[in-house]
């Protein structure tokens, strides 16, 4: 009985081919010379527009850590003839959604707006991008919010862990500290610093645009020119590629909390490397976030040491590394780390054919499921541009996953996985752990 049913399911698996992602990406250049990718879909009367500026928090000037983050937080706090309250009121009237955010490598603006008042919504968004006021009272108010978050981070084990890890690995490079800044640096920021961060980060020479929804190429062209042509031509210099330090062993940050939070990592691989896809598949098998990964099976399913354990290939603009995280009670975290180390070592011997096949089926099947809405697609197509990909990547990507062989996995495992360099940062009161 059991056997028969299993066979039927196996049959279903082999017969059902993965669906293809079907998005028609148009590459457009506006009359004013702005490049953008567009996916037209007139099903729902709104447009999702993603703007990204490369650089982000890493462009903070020396001694001005947190300037970009604070600047981005102020874009919606007053623009043109509107103070913060007037700006917010107008956004509500338009029923548009503008989300402004910054990260290590980007300043991002995610906009959603209705077709019925598109022009008015874009006039409003433009004001925040081109003519932000950075009023002193708004600056003080948002600074207080950022400082409140920074204070909370000082006693949040997750935040302590990622900061300690970044500092260990990247030292004085911008990646070595939080782009939110520190209490000291943010306290010292002036309005001039904010204006400089605006000019330095939001320039056209580092701009990427993705739009999806109820808009034509011609309409988008005119819209983008109105919205973006008045941004500065060029901005601040990019920092150098980050040197990385992975000393191996365990660094413990003592913090009185019941569950230890762990971040770990070693060097990674660039997306342009011929072995990237092999490493990507290997990561999926090792700790790629599904229940089927070796780490989830060994640390959670077999031993009950954690609620979750993951690894990922971090392909940042200025560094490539292989990182992961786990959280486990202070009494059990030592065992969790031992298991992760052992799995790191074991994976150097490669994987089984069944593991490779399963990972490929999952990854190729899951990929088209990502393209399931205007918002998600806008995110994907702007991300692709930042990675230097072309639109045909959407149809070729699964072929590259399929092409990965057992030999490729073995080669990349031998080349990259380095248990001696795998470095752990533990925040908590771990028992029986020898810091090295």
């Amino acid at each position: 009985m059991i056997r028969i049913i299993c066979t039927t399911w196996a049959l279903l698996l082999t017969l059902a081919l993965p669906v293809r992602a079907e998005v028609k990406i148009q590459e457009i250049t506006t009359p004013g010379g702005i490049n953008a990718w567009l996916v037209e879909d007139h099903t729902i009367p709104f447009t999702a527009l993603e703007l990204r500026f490369r650089g982000g928090g890493s462009l903070d000037a020396a001694g001005k850590r947190g300037a970009t983050n604070l600047m981005v937080g102020l874009l919606e706090e007053g623009a043109a003839d509107m103070d913060a309250r007037a700006f917010a009121t107008r956004t509500e009237e338009l029923a548009a959604s503008f989300v402004y955010s910054s990260g290590d490598d980007t300043v991002a603006i995610s906009a959603k707006f209705l077709t019925e008042n598109r022009d008015a919504a874009m006039t409003h968004l433009r004001a925040s991008l081109i003519e932000p006021r950075f009023d002193q009272d708004a600056l003080e108010r948002v600074r207080a919010q950022v400082l409140s978050g920074l204070r909370q981070d000082l006693t949040d084990p997750q935040a302590i862990a990622s900061r300690s890890f970044d500092s260990l690995v990247f030292g004085t490079h911008p990646y070595g500290s939080s782009q939110d800044g520190t209490i000291e640096s943010v306290t010292a920021l002036t309005r001039d610093d904010i204006v400089a961060a605006h000019q330095g980060t939001m320039a056209r020479d580092r701009l990427y645009v993705g739009a999806v929804g109820d808009i034509s190429a011609k309409e988008l062209g005119a819209l983008l020119d109105d919205l973006l042509l008045d941004l500065p031509e060029t901005g601040a210099d990019f920092p150098p590629v980050a040197a990385m330090n992975f000393p191996g062993g365990v660094k413990v940050v003592e913090f009185d909390t019941p569950q230890s939070v762990v971040v770990f990592g070693q060097e990674g691989i660039d997306m342009t490397d011929p072995d990237f896809f092999a490493a990507y598949v290997l990561n999926q098998i090792l700790g790629g976030g599904s229940f089927e990964s070796r780490l989830m099976q060994e640390v959670r399913e077999k031993r009950g040491l954690t609620y979750g354990v993951y690894t990922y290939l971090a392909d940042r603009d200025l560094a490539d590394f292989w990182a992961g995280s786990v959280a486990s009670g202070n009494e059990t975290v030592t065992e969790a780390i031992e298991v992760i180390r052992a799995e790191w070592q074991r994976a150097r011997a490669g994987v089984t054919q069944a593991e490779l096949d399963d990972a490929k089926t999952y990854m190729t099947g899951a990929y088209p499921l990502r393209f399931d809405g205007n918002g998600p697609i806008a995110n994907i197509i702007v991300g692709m541009q930042m990675m230097g990909l072309t639109p045909d990547y959407v149809s070729n990507r699964n072929t590259m996953i399929e092409a990965v062989t057992m030999d490729d996995i073995f080669r990349v495992a031998q080349r990259l996985l380095d248990p001696a360099a795998l470095s752990f940062v533990v925040v908590g009161k771990p028992q029986g752990l020898d810091p090295t």
Binding site: A88, R151, G373
Partner: protein, 452 residues
Amino acid sequence: MARLFALAVALLSFSPMAARADDAVTDFTLDNGMQVVVIEDHRAPVVVQMVWYRSGSADETPGVSGVAHFLEHLLFKGTDTLEPGEFSATVARNGGADNAFTSYDYTAYYQRVAADRLELMMRMESDRMVNLRLSEDDIATERNVILEERNQRVENNPSALFREQKDAVQYLNHRYGVPIIGWRHEMESLSLKDALSYYGTYYSPNNAILIVAGDVTPEGVKTLAEKYYGVIPANPDLPERNRAVEPPQTAERRMIYRDPRVAQPWVSRSYLAPERDSGAQEDAAALVLLAEILGGGQTSLLNERLQFDREMVVYAGAGYGAGSLDDTTFDLYVVPKPGVTLQQAEDALDEVIAEFMENGVDQQQLDRIKMQLKASQIYARDDVESIANRYGRALTQGLTVADVQAWPEVLQSISADQIMAAAQALFNRDRSVTGWLMSDASPDAAAKEVSQ
């Protein structure tokens, strides 16, 4: 993360939106009593299958808190025909993702896969509705997993510990006062028998709702649903859902939670409040609008007065859990700036409420909120999974498909007077809990400490 539980009344989560009749929603009931809802969206060849059970942590027997959520984890172990772990492995081998979540009023399981794999998903999901096979080994390991989950979500997070204590104080008799994930000491002794007892009582087609959303047709779903779920007999002994009722609350409650890990103290005030009732959603709709008016964003009254005018707070907000089977809460919170004490913050909060009760609703603000609610219906269509979730929550919380579809119009129909009447009924301190979250023993020291 996977096999998660949802905090039913998350302070900031606010989604009053509901689908309209034109959202391509079809519903029907199988002969065994299982309700089925189909939501069509043909833009991508993707389908989400969800099975929602009308039972959650608030349906547990006293003494075994957390068993609903524990069982949810255990449903990924074996059945008569599936090895432990094979369920998720099979979903993954089909390029899909699966998970589950538990709340006070429901437990739900879902898979997101290519539309042509729906049959396989139904075969497996219907199988574990009644054929679960658990061993003592499964129990021991998975109990450690949920204890680590509690560590991660609650023990490591002073705000979560504070909220847990607050809920326990808010409810005098109802199980909403017990955490979804369970009290630690009871979780530690959850047994195979406890899990199977809950499973036997509540997991049956007549206590379940199937929701299929995505690139499917109602006819196709019906054929498959009849084949896989329709053959499972109804449970004739399914208990009626009569849970303990709150007695009249007649004493204002105050609490202080101290934890050295608190770097940003804040004040919380919650009031016992009515929830959305089938066919009578007006009071709840008025409270949704009230929460928006008082604490919904930058232009809300609390932020106008306390963040902008008086410059006392980092931020302030309001939240209302409209969806709930039984009495819910309306929550307000104020996060003071350094140098402002929690007492000053609380007093300021009460002054804003008093001012609102005196001056009433600003009609322009109400118009803006209604315009945003209308627009949110358009934006929501971009995410069929969120529409599926909305139906699942509503149908497990005593509402009907018609209630869900009427909700946007009910929200638009509410007048300023109705909002004031709802506020009048709500703001009774005898039914409230005021909580201070702080790091230090002395209330006034909290503000000083953070300003250092």
